[in-house]
């Protein structure tokens, strides 16, 4: 009986994700779902990306913020752009496609061409839930340690891009970048790994170019 319930949940999520995909295609919007552990830098990546891109006339960004509680992150983003929707999940450890559909309904889709979803900070639960995104990004950070690909493999497998954030911390740490990359390669041989710091902006241009590039496709 329990398995049956889980199957229904996943099946329902898949259908809702399809609805989101159709809505995005219809409105010519590219949606990026950002996953990470708590404190790895999802909000910082979104904030710094908006600052870099908002002056460009051809890019209009919206953000869907997923949190267990509070509007703490969405308030920071609201200072920069108008289309910010906060989803508070209560106790639920991930966003699902149906939550995203409700958020999309409240956004000015005609105006937007890029939506970032900040998922709930968690390296496990969000992995299985397709939100209808075009791309999924995993942020891992130097301060979490270089063993994360070993300990949370599914998050590193089911992603279209890995951003290794906080590389400014690498000099005072025992983070071994070769060890990290080798362990990623064992489970996901093709994925790109962008190394950057949202704080010092080292390597940030690669990320901005990546975003601009996917928008052109």
């Amino acid at each position: 009986m329990e398995i049956k319930v889980i199957e229904n949940v996943m099946q329902y999520n898949k259908q809702e994700a399809e609805l989101n995909k159709n809505l995005l295609t219809k409105n010519n919007i590219f949606m990026i779902n950002i996953l990470s552990a708590p404190g790895a830098g999802k909000t910082s990546l979104i904030l710094e990306t908006i600052k870099e891109l908002k002056e460009l006339n051809d890019i209009n960004i919206g953000v869907i913020e997923g949190d267990i509680a509070s509007t703490f992150d969405s308030e920071k983003i609201k200072n920069l752009i108008d289309d910010v929707i906060q989803i508070n999940t209560g106790g639920t450890c991930h966003l699902n496609a149906s939550m995203i559909y409700k958020a999309l309904e409240q956004m000015d889709l005609k105006k937007l061409n890029l939506i970032f979803i900040e998922n709930v900070g968690n390296l496990i639960c969000p992995v299985g839930f397709d939100l209808g995104e075009n791309y999924r990004i995993l942020i891992s950070s130097v301060s979490e340690g270089d063993d994360k690909p070993i300990k949370y493999p599914k998050a590193f497998i089911k992603t279209d891009l890995i951003v290794l954030n906080k590389i400014d911390m690498i000099k005072n740490s025992d983070f071994n970048i070769t060890f990290f990359e080798n362990n990623v390669r064992k489970i996901n041989s093709d994925v790109d790994i962008l190394k950057l710091s949202c704080k010092t902006k080292d390597g940030f241009n690669q990320w901005i170019n990546w975003v601009r590039d996917v928008l052109k496709r």
Copy 2:
């Protein structure tokens, strides 16, 4: 129907947690359940604590390691002590009491008087699951940012002690310790907050004294 299933799971976990409690009481063992986000320092805290305490004749430590995958952390601990049990949950985002019961069955309980459980790295799912522990500890780390009590309130409410790790990083960060503490106080007015660094050992003595103190009770 879904709610019914969840009720059964929680009820079953509660019964299993009681079994664990009885087993621990019978064997005069104190068990500490450690929660945190990925990379906050659960394994480091356990390793450094074992190094400090293992020379003492009156303290015999066992460890139950919870991970989605791998034996990476338990191998490090196995270099220091014999009683280390690895639980790989597959995809499950938390340990439950029944997993702990199976681990306890494999440990030399007559020899031990202190067991650390390293829960799965996650600030959400493990919170609701009593494992039969005597104390629960939450580790938050400076590199995760000072907003975690706002964003993951239940983890900060349902704990007997908060360890703020990586305080050696505070000088090069924008972590505001007063902001962190004030937000903890709003939701958990009485909990102790120990500030330390497993790396530099700043403040580590307070933690060792805390452990020795709870063992005397």
